[in-house]
Symmetry: C2
Subunit: 308 residues, 2 copies
């Protein structure tokens, strides 16, 4: 699957991913009004509004981008109905040729991680049938439980040609609380990075591994070190835009081939119409604002890494 | 919510929780046959089999136990249909007076953790309505992202009188890979434990905090140290039974008041009929085997901690 992601990135000259993390407050009034009129102010109403909103954003941007990254928590908060919108969003994005990175941050003991891996990347056995439940292309994985919590995901990646991104250094302000703690003089996230390389060696694509990692845009110095520590590991980079990361900060997340990193923006794209810069589009044309924000993000990043 | 859990534990003299982690291979043939006949070998068929299985186990054990702990991964692998069974199981257990500990091991950056907290412990805003989606009483939380990933859960616990159990030292064989790494001469899990105390101080019940922790039964020496480090923190203890933990190993997870820990058994209870010890019940009376396994587990643990 990493080969497909790299191919998409090259073809579109776009090392970016759009985070589909819908908040009700982002969704334009014309969409929520319609959904609430049909389904009421219910979980079903919210779910339908989210789905319509996502669909319009995908339709307006899919030709420019290689992938989307729906954040499952934003759907899970609307319960079963919300997860139906998550599934519809994943399926629709795939039908548009996009790689789907499910941002699920799951991770547990072995047998339980195996169930999560099956849920999101594999197929579950029911009687004599094998059925894919959510069927994303990649998912994010939390490494706190160690190798036997990650290996079941790697196993499914091998069987199904799927991929994962393991949290190494997250973008949030207090990520250092545990991740930066020094172990024999080196931060814990470097130990995790070394394990990511080990896990990834079992599951290589052509140049990069199907086991990638997550390193936040908000820690560029650490990104530079981690890039060197994991030369064949794709880095999923959250924290660009709304969280403070800029294109110029991201140069060292990439390898010299211009590959090796994929930068996520969520709010900055999907709620672009709320920014002064894109105010002219208004709520009515929110998806055109999203498209322009993708164009601008691409220019910012490609210029920084010398691909513009 | 910790007060309710403690009250249930005292009333039933039962510091245990039954893990509702259904695998298809555990479910007796009479149940899967019936579900597949009605719904086919589909996700819906699997989901219905799981629900019937859980319901019978709850009916056969609820008067003996204070709580159940459904592991959401085992449902998520069956997609939307599986999560419907999860929700039905949680609701049914609550209707029987049981405390429901959702073993979800979520955790993310602040705004995303807030969405998970709302999904599982709180209420989501839809227009002018506030709606509870999954509505467990407690959930488990992964601390790898640090305080700003945990605090949104603590905030919802305060608002809604709910609780969490934060992973400190997990029961799996490779949990030490990162959790045991020494930071200034002390294992990382002790640093996490100190943070658990800090988070918990914001959210106290009468004696214990609504912020509990997870420490595996498989590491009794560490459990002893952690017990002292977190005197007012309830410890959820997985790893008893099938994973190798025994009652005698668990003495030091409890405080002198005989409280402070709640021991989970999943397979050992729900698939008891598959053990030689309970073979006489057979598949047909699997729920009676589960009941007897609860009785035996209670005796083992209460004897070890001097409550028998």
């Amino acid at each position: 699957m990493i080969n497909t992601l790299v191919k998409n990135i090259k073809e579109k000259n776009a090392p970016i991913v759009v985070g589909l993390d819908p908040m009700m407050s982002y969704i334009p009034k014309q969409i929520t009004d319609k959904a609430f009129a049909e389904f009421g102010e219910t979980l079903e109403g919210a779910s339908n509004a989210i789905w319509e909103y996502n669909k319009k954003i995908i339709d307006a941007t899919y030709d420019l981008i290689p992938a989307v990254k729906p954040q499952i928590a934003m759907y899970e908060q609307f319960g079963i109905e919300g997860l139906i919108a998550y599934k519809k969003t994943c399926d629709y994005a795939k039908s548009k040729g996009l790689v789907v990175i499910g941002d699920i941050k799951r991770g547990d003991i072995g047998s339980t991680s195996a169930a999560y891996a099956v849920a999101h990347l594999g197929k579950v056995a029911v009687g004599s049938n094998k059925i894919a439940a959510f069927n994303e292309d990649f998912v994010t994985v939390n490494p706190y439980l160690g190798s036997d919590g990650v290996n079941p995901f790697v196993d499914v990646c091998k069987e199904e040609n799927k991929g994962i991104f393991v949290l190494v250094k997250t973008s949030n302000p207090s990520s250092g609380e545990f991740q930066d703690q020094l172990v024999n003089g080196r931060p814990l996230y470097e130990l995790v990075a070394e394990k990511v390389v080990e896990w990834g060696n079992q599951c290589m694509g052509d140049t990069y591994s199907n086991v990638g990692c997550v390193v936040g845009a908000t820690y560029p110095e650490m990104g530079k070190v981690l890039r060197k520590l994991m030369p064949n590991t794709y880095i999923l980079v959250p924290g660009y835009g709304a969280q403070g990361g800029k294109g110029a900060d991201l140069v060292h997340y990439f390898n010299e081939d211009g590959l090796g990193a994929i930068v996520n923006s969520s709010r900055g794209i999907i709620a672009a119409y709320k920014q002064e810069k894109y105010a002219k589009y208004g709520e009515a044309c929110f998806e055109e604002a999203s498209r322009q924000a993708v164009v601008d993000m691409l220019e910012d990043i490609n210029q920084a890494i010398g691909r513009a």
